[in-house]
Point group: D2
């Protein structure tokens, strides 16, 4: 590869410094970085291009920041087909697994086309309004969440799978997650971890009123609908990948299925999703760290 786009999280304290270092490293090996105006002001004379025109101009995109930055980048590049590589500023994430000491190696691997490709499925969604009509949602790399608003009262939601009503739940909300999203919000709600590559989706209920529900794992060919049940007394919202939500009305249905658009990540050789998880979650389980049982 020769032409690489750059997206960056300017909220990170060391963003500018990191960008300058990456730009110098890239120049040294003949990798041409394409950036937006703000990045150019920091990193010196580089080809300029807004991210939504990257598809015509670069072969891949490096994302400097954290996992949230990668989610934002994936949303902006949706449908472009451009592969992403996450370079971490700060501590390692699930999607930003290249640490700062590996930045040079990562740029060389891009230059020499030696990266592993890791295709992640995404969720396509739309709201079917009870009042008629519908609204498309952005593809979700992590998850789609339907939740009650900020009222203290319970929400009521129906879950349908492949046209069949499976459950009505009084709860704070429901989550439909990709394998990629299974280590994000779905995990907080008590869901399992789906290894990347598992051909499945996860459905979790947030703070269910009854004790009988357990997270569901379904084939990723399933069509899932989350519906605002008749009796809901609050204004629920639907949110994609942690973005601000769209309001829903009683009878509205959020219909979800696998998107035809996936997101491809580039990794250094030796990347292992299990190793990333083990390090993030502390699965080493060193014997001498355990107490007296």
């Amino acid at each position: 590869m020769k032409k690489i786009g750059v997206m960056i999280n300017w909220n990170k304290a060391r963003a500018a410094e990191t960008l300058r270092r990456v730009a110098a490293d890239a120049a040294a090996i003949g990798l041409e970085l394409t950036v937006d105006r703000r990045a150019a002001a920091v990193a010196g004379e580089l080809p300029l291009c807004p991210a939504d025109e990257f598809a015509a101009r670069v072969e891949a995109v490096i994302v400097l920041g954290g996992d949230g930055t990668v989610l934002d980048a994936a949303r902006q590049l949706q449908g472009s087909g451009l592969p992403l590589m996450g370079l971490n500023i700060g501590s390692l994430g699930y999607l930003t697994c290249v640490g700062e000491e590996q930045f040079g190696e990562a740029l060389r691997a891009l230059r020499e086309d030696r990266c592993t490709r890791d295709r992640r499925t995404t969720l396509a969604g739309r709201i079917a309004r009870a009042a008629g009509g519908g609204t498309g949602l952005a593809d979700a790399l992590n998850e789609v969440v339907v939740s009650r608003g900020s009222s203290g009262r319970l929400g009521w939601f129906d879950l349908e799978i492949d046209g069949e009503s499976v459950m009505t739940s009084a709860c704070d909300g429901m989550v439909v997650s990709t394998p990629t999203g299974s280590t994000a919000y779905a995990l907080s709600t008590g869901g399992p971890i789906l290894l990347p590559g598992t051909r499945a989706l996860e459905i979790a209920v947030i703070s269910p009123h009854t004790l009988s529900f357990r997270p569901l794992v379904v084939p990723d060919s399933s069509v899932i609908a989350l519906c605002v049940a008749r009796g809901a007394t609050v204004a629920p919202v639907v949110s994609v990948d942690g973005q601000d939500g769209l309001p829903l009305a009683v009878g509205d249905r959020v219909e979800l299925r696998l998107s035809p658009r996936s997101v491809t990540f580039l990794h250094l050789a030796g990347y292992s999703p299990c190793a990333v998880m083990s390090r993030k979650l502390g699965w080493g389980g060193r014997r001498d760290k355990t107490g007296g049982r």
Copy 2:
């Protein structure tokens, strides 16, 4: 007892019919019901009195409805010292354990002063504002919840116990619950059940970002503070017993301790909180209902 106040949930379909029946049964045994204007219109000529003046006029209050109705009644009667008896319209609750077939028996037990008294602790709270000043909260019979608003972004909250910082958590919110509230929202978040009479409070985190948290049970002499951490980017709210929430700002602290005001419930002889739970949660565990493991 001779004089009994009545509070009723008019949203229940059979409210009027039930009230008429209770009024007739009470009259037949010389129990004088005191009601508000709306109830009088349904039940015939009865002494009128708004609920907030019940303390001066009646010896106890019967609440016709569900557990939510009892929570509302307890809030309105806060500080009155009046004991409550929950008569269920619909299916049995934790706080409304007298079913319709037992209404006559319940009225006789009140008349003859044969009820068991069951004192439940409540939580007193106030908001200490970062900007100075404070706001008192209504006593909570169930729980106080601090939660992020409707944004898709995480909230950040600090937990302090007896002045000591215990935990900072990225999460959807935190719950501090009485034993009474342990079968309500705290249960939905994965918390344990505290039997009534346990001298403890429960602290639970809602959808915590990390896996290391577990619900905490602390002596009910503890002073607990839930604080909106510096970095919160959303507008959190504090809510008491499922009521609409008050907005919080960064640095605001919700300080909670046992209230000097408890709520006393009246039960029929033979009342057992374990039996109520077992029936509500289906703990019978009949052998022939189990599958093949």
Copy 3:
């Protein structure tokens, strides 16, 4: 179909009576039942054949009992390719979803070849002994469990996926489950429910010593090994589908992968695994059954 084998759980109180009724119903529609000697003594003159010779003699097998009876039948018929239909004596199970009122309908559906086929994956396993050599395990329709023995001390187990060490855990044991088994023991350990047809396996840890583990869902092409870690001080066992366990020594590895042999279930038209689950777990969530939150 014309020739059907019968397997039956004689421990069920109404086993004999049920068998007689099924035999009469079958005779009336020209369905020939093949049974073992004990069943013949109860049901009258029927072709005799031990279950392990069913493959050569019948086209399908009906199993009269509960889910445990179906697990036993599947083990005995392993590799025969014979499809099974579970007829329930007692309350409905996940694998015995035909209730007594539907027995006549089920026999006619078999006779007229109108059943739905539902192929379930199974797990093939072997023990690779540290001391050399190995032992094959029966295929698991539900799950394989490696657990510490009856000692009060912790066990130490390693989990490997596709040759990579993922986790070392101090715990009571580990479970690897098929989607079919996800509603059995794996559910008890806190695992998710995998809908039948999900191309995945579930890995759960039983009572883990650390808080950081969550059930894992992996592609069903994965090769999974559960290993007895060096430091284990107790005698662990490996158990298939709840059968009595085989002892393991330190360093022994239980290697698991999808079996080439699946089990096919026959269902009445309209069978829905979600409906079975919803009924077994009580997911109806009727509004009037909820308490006051």
Copy 4:
């Protein structure tokens, strides 16, 4: 204080070296250590006394090892009334919170009687045999566990509280834990954490067959019985603080209540159980360690 007993876990690699250092430090400040023969062989000429005669000879006991060592020491000293101080060899535990860099300070605090006293409740138990007669159990500082043996089949247990049957559960077992034990095995089974000083006991079910159970917290004045239900097909065991178990028969009852004998721990000034938990469980929750949600 002047006379201190020493108990030590000889399985720790640095046991001898640590003991020598402690002995030297103690001698320097006039603290007389009393040890057993093995320790004397290592640490030089010190007063000899077996642990079961410590009560008549020393004022307090220091325990060198981990939490398991403290459990063993508490069992050996049961009823002696001697306070314990846990000095950690290895990584910090819940009961061994004095790290090696604080050993000198700890010895001085003992000498000058400046330690905080922390009284922990324990559980007294006995087995009431179905066949008649009974067997006393050692007091439990952590927990009493009734569990199925090593069979793959489910156990069936009944839970009684204050003479009332609360639940029958098909499960792997049941745990009754003190607040001290709430961070040990009970935590592994999904139970809450009870802060020391909470006047409560915790009851948890291990891998329950049904989804409706939640850990129970009850007043520590409760009398709890765990009973082997009629239908159990395996040989269950009862185990105290992780010791090897005693076998139980169908109908046997394990009766538990607060013991009149507590265990007193000595801590350095500034000891905080919340701080110990926060450090053990990683509750710091630093913002820059979180991924992208």
